[in-house]
Symmetry: C2
């Protein structure tokens, strides 16, 4: 390889993805590995990145030990914490260049191809971010399932589970779905097991159940879905986009909630043009504004 | 010691207490030690119990190795899980008798002296329990801070913190307390640190702040306090007490919320007659009905 090569990584709490691209953004190799969140486990994050690197390099016929000409552009959960960002760079074996990026910013750049836009990501969690015409960006929510991430999968699951427990406590009126919802979240475990280790993925696993019940007209499920849409609409509005700006919705819940979001927002919404790894490539190759997060 | 001696333990997630009493319930010695929750750490729970035992025995002039004539009556967090109860009994060194008790039941018996009554415990968490005339008992809530414990300290703190984050996200109107509330919960840490490890004690630490603001007429804080009182009143009513039954309120939030609870409930409430260790003694000595939990 003679010209610039970009090794782009998208890191998350349970899974990481890597992609090797040439200077034009053409994919040379790609790989998937385990968790990569430098804020929760820096050594594990570095190990995942290096496993991705070795696989991509081998597949592309590149010597994995030769990293001098390579730019590592990594958008990862946990890199929003500056202390963790510095620790990751210090712990990572050397590359020609290492560009650590807030994962939300990499996704925003990927979604809009580096042009000013807004993006709401709604999966288990929820966050929104806007790229302004001057190249700065700001975010809304993403505070986590216990105190934020309003309208996301974990939030929906918690509302439904809370309500089912209120019914069990006889402080809410009977709800035909209460018992089956508790059975669904427990699976083969007991309620004690679930309550000893409640986590956002587990709570979000109730969301398909709630959305299906809303489709069938169940009033409690409809109320939860409406409130989730309210939250997501308020979050999108908090980005204060101009009419000419594009608003992207991404994440696993964007598809099932799409029609309700469009109706309530009263403006078109779009699917992201590309993913966070493409965003990292655009940033590393100078095709998008460098990350400058501001408070607005 | 010739007659029966009772070694009573009250175990919790951060602290355990032990009390040695004679057959008439007179205290011979008492001690405090670390965490005791057999469901989260059985070995640690046994270690705490044995540390309490050695100190109580020494203080009472009893050989700590002579446990044959001693009844260990332990009401502890985590003993509501039958698997953990069995594991604790198996792991604990032998006593003359070991009586493991649900901590909420020990508190209920202590509160009412073993007579039929209802009890709502409201501190960081919330749970309610009733002893019926036939000696059976049932509970309401206590589901934990992420999905239940409605109206407790962690619940109040989460509502306030959530609202402050909504203000920061510009999806809720300005609230003069938002910044100071976030600063209060963060202390010397950053928001990222708090969000990486949100725990119920931390959330509950906001409660005095919220209650003080409510006293001064802040409308958001008043709304949160009113909703907490609503939850606690609904929980107390879910015990379906007769007019002749006594309703006890215990825990750190019972005192500041007392006047609002009395007003909304429209019936008198009482302070517990005694604590959970006294409850354990009453149970072990046959002065109160043995634990029989039912679903109602």
């Amino acid at each position: 390889m003679t010209s610039a090569v970009y090794f782009c990584v998208d890191g998350g709490g349970t899974r990481s993805r890597g992609r090797l691209t040439d200077a034009d953004g053409v994919t040379l190799a790609s790989a998937v590995d385990g968790p990569c969140n430098p804020n929760t486990d820096c050594a594990r994050a570095v190990a995942s990145v290096m496993a991705l690197w070795r696989r991509c390099a081998s597949d592309a016929g590149h010597d994995p030990e030769d990293r001098a000409g390579i730019t590592l552009a990594i958008g990862s959960a946990g890199l929003n914490v500056m202390r963790s960002r510095a620790a990751f760079v210090a712990a990572c074996p050397p590359f020609g260049r290492i560009l650590p990026i807030n994962d939300g910013y990499a996704a925003l750049i990927g979604a809009g191809g580096g042009k000013p836009c807004g993006m709401v990501a709604v999966g288990t969690g929820v966050t929104a971010r806007r790229l302004l015409p001057d190249g700065t960006n700001f975010f809304r929510d993403g505070w986590g399932w216990t105190v934020g991430d309003r309208g996301g999968g974990a939030w929906i699951g918690v509302q439904a589970f809370r309500h089912a427990l209120e019914v069990k406590d006889t402080v809410a009126p009977p709800w035909p779905l209460a018992d089956s919802l508790i059975a669904t979240i427990c699976g083969a475990e007991t309620l004690d097991d679930i309550l000893a280790n409640p986590n956002p993925e587990r709570m979000a696993s109730l969301t398909p159940f709630v959305l299906a019940a809303a489709d069938e007209g169940d009033p409690v499920a409809l109320g939860i879905r409406n409130q989730a849409v309210d939250h997501l609409v308020a979050l999108a509005r908090a980005l204060r986009l101009e009419d000419a700006d594009t608003l992207y919705f991404s994440g696993g819940l964007a598809v099932p909630l799409w029609p309700f979001l469009v109706e309530r927002l009263g403006r078109p919404i779009s699917e992201p043009l590309a993913d966070a790894m493409t965003g990292s490539y655009l940033l590393a190759s100078g095709r998008a504004p460098a990350e400058v997060e501001i408070s607005v």
